[in-house]
Amino acid sequence: MMTRWWRVRDENARFTRTPAVTLAIMAGALLGGALLNAEPLAETASAQPAGWVRSVAVGAADALAEVSDAVGLDEPHEALDDLLGRGEIAPGDGTPPVGGVVFVPTAERPARLWIAGDSLVETIGAAIVNAAAATGVMEARFEVQFSSGITRPEIYDWSRQLAAGLATQPADILIFMVGANDGQAIETATGFVGFGTDEWVAEYARRVGDLMDMLGTRVSTVYWIGLPIAADERLAVRFAVMNDIYRSAAEERDSTRYIDVFTAFAGPDGGYAALLPDATGRLERVRDPDGVHFTPAGAELVAELVLGVIGEVWEIER
């Protein structure tokens, strides 16, 4: 006979409660937790895509934040944040580094690379770090911020973060790649405007230009990697729109070079290709099944492309 294991354990009524009391405990816990975490909850709510869900979430979270602030329940979280050193951007030494000049890197004076961007950089960053280390004259680090981009600085403000990061850890070369999350409404002085409208393009181009200008004063060269062709045709069209903006902005600035991976990762028919030949000619899966991100093998191809472009100017033998 089978052991009825779900019956044999704890029949002790002391440890049980009615559904109503259980619901009250859970509701109390969630309300308490929401009040104690009101500030991060409000930030998360405002980071939602524009729409009624965001409006409702922001309204509720702001109300909670006000109550939490009024009764001082936001203080424990702030104290823990201070204790853990979170929430504040490192100020650096106060003097932003000024963009240097291109030089021939050596083992004694290697070129310092910083690769930064959204989730696309997860595999690409690792591949560039590995490839850069193999040159013996480059030192690389990378930073990934999932779900980040330029349309929503309230989620992650790349401009402030990169400025602060370069102040504390200077780099000679910045490789930047965002945009996968940017195909959404953007907030302007008049409110949110939908993707692809003239207002959207103008505002996005302004932000991209401002970011390139800021970075141009802090590193020798900015390499801006465009977005790859996507499996979803609508997404591919959006990526192409953003790539045009990156390319145009880079062409207007001496300190920035645009690297095209859109066409580089298209198949022989010009469309999306999940499999492409690697450096040895062997067919490899280069894109994740989501049709956007790169596999490690695909990231290695991007790294080859990027380091090839950098090497032409920086005279790096590979």
Partner: protein, 485 residues
């Protein structure tokens, strides 16, 4: 490398540690207990909750879940209609389940291999290339469905009514990553009267809280502190960092998966269901066999009951045959985790470990040598050896390719300073591994202490726990490691 993860905390409800899921669960909890006295409405409500939960991830795959339910219901009914052909019907049902699983899990791998082969000889592959998205949880509900059909064949259960089967396979706490529950365990709970004593709320909330802490705080910390970076760019690390990074992943996968299981069992308990346990201090195991009796226990018993014993029945279970069977079965378990050489290697290491242990036991028995007592230093040697075999295998499990795994191992010979190994990291690892040695009843004692608190104090304590989890956790919650299986 900086890696702040910012998955939306409001986003998809398939992730338990999100605000959206908390709201969803409160609604489901209230609805389920209000409808509890109404047999059909209660089941239909739980089924609808499961489908909403699944649809939130990708609504298209609800049709897949419904197809799996229909398929298995028809197969189960057919066993009643044609009892003389029960074996054939069950076999066809299992094959259909495997075809479904195989298509979603292995089609891409198959087509890629075919394209490579065709390309290497200058041809074009005749099979169309499709990007097949792996539906979350397909391995788990397919394994449950197969177990259901086999249990019918073995006379352990009778075919469930369609609504019961659908409710069982779609039960959301276990839908995406188990525990792999049997129909013989879940079905009777659907028929049982509501527990008059009420809900084991203390145990349930303890499990949910513990799972949240394990997943959101510990697992995320270990990933960000060293693991992700080590496996992405191993060339940057010294021997000490690589070794601690391997230990850190060994700890991370445990807290991630067992944290999910804790939450699943706790949430099910709140809805009045008991799910089987899945973990029992796996890293104090003194052999690979012992490890598998403590790690992903519901998968282990599935493998044992539906793969190993049926195979042994056909081939015999004598010395070398049993050893070969163990290796074969574990290779298949590796393949179940993913179509790639890294998973095959992982399964192979465990299979060889199990086979070697089995052969040494048999040889000892054949020579009349008594089994050495497992106490004192011998016990610790066994534990350490087992732990390191398991940790070694995890490297293949985590790495994206065999080459990447060997890159990590290669760093073990690169002696130098280890700045990435911080005291906090070491303390967390000591805590995770040290917890494995707590006595089995420590949870019961902790639950008993928590249960004696007044409801208002319990709610306040849980609110503070949420503060700690949020403050110490990363921004946003990455998916569970086992979601991809």
């Amino acid at each position: 490398m900086g890696r702040a993860r910012r998955y939306s905390a409001l986003g998809g409800i398939v992730l338990f540690p999100t605000v959206t899921f908390a709201i969803f669960f409160m609604v489901v909890f209230a609805g389920a207990w209000i409808l509890r006295p109404h047999r059909v409405a209660w089941r239909a409500f739980l089924l609808a909750a499961g489908w909403v939960f699944y649809a939130w991830w990708d609504y298209r795959f609800v049709a897949l879940l419904a197809a799996s339910i229909t398929l298995n219901h028809l197969a189960a009914r057919a066993t009643l209609r044609w009892p003389a052909r029960q074996r054939l019907v069950v076999t066809l049902g299992i094959v259909a389940n495997l075809v479904l699983l195989g298509f979603f899990k292995y089609y891409g791998f198959f087509v890629e291999s075919l394209e490579r082969l065709a390309d290497s000889i200058g041809f074009t592959s005749p099979v169309p290339f499709l990007e097949v998205i792996l539906p979350v949880g397909i391995s788990f509900f397919t394994f449950e469905a197969i177990a259901y059909l086999v249990e019918i064949r073995r006379g352990v259960v009778t075919p469930l009514p369609l609504l019961d089967l659908a409710t069982y396979l779609s039960f959301f706490p276990k839908l995406t990553s188990g525990p792999i529950t049997r129909a013989s365990e879940f079905g009777p709970q659907l028929d049982a009267p509501a527990d008059e004593a009420g809900i084991e709320v203390s145990r349930a909330l303890w499990l949910v809280g513990r799972g949240l802490f394990k997943k959101v705080v510990i697992a995320s910390y270990l990933g960000e502190a060293l693991v992700d970076e080590l496996f992405a760019t191993p060339g940057q690390f010294s021997a000490g960092e690589a070794l601690v990074g391997i230990y850190a992943y060994t700890a991370q996968i445990y807290v991630d998966f067992s944290g999910y299981t804790d939450m699943a069992i706790g949430l099910a308990l709140l809805l009045g269901f008991r799910l089987p346990e899945n973990f029992r201090s796996p890293y104090i195991a003194t052999s690979v066999r012992d490890f598998w009796s403590r790690w992903h226990m519901t998968l282990t018993r599935w493998i044992r009951d539906f793969m190993f014993w049926p195979l042994a029945k056909r081939t015999g279970n004598r010395r070398y045959i049993a050893a070969v069977n163990m290796v074969l079965v574990m290779l298949l378990v590796g393949l179940w985790h993913g179509a790639g050489w890294t998973f095959i290697m992982w399964g192979g290491i465990h299979g060889v470990g199990l086979a070697v242990e089995r052969l040494s036991r048999e040889l000892r028995r054949a020579r009349g040598i008594r089994r050495p007592r497992r106490s004192g230093w011998r016990l610790w040697v066994n534990r350490l050896v087992t732990f390191h075999v398991v940790a070694l295998a995890w490297v293949f499990f985590r790495a994206h390719s065999l080459e990447a795994a060997f890159d990590v191992f290669a760093r073990l010979g690169n002696f130098g300073p280890a700045p990435a190994v911080t005291w906090v990291l070491v303390a967390v690892l000591v805590a995770v591994f040290g917890m494995q040695f707590l006595p089995d009843d420590w949870t019961d004692r902790a639950v008993a202490s928590f249960a004696r608190l007044r409801p208002a104090v319990q709610a306040a304590a849980l609110g503070v726990a949420l503060l700690v989890v949020d403050a110490f956790g990363p921004e946003g919650v990455p998916p569970f490691i086992y979601f991809r299986f």
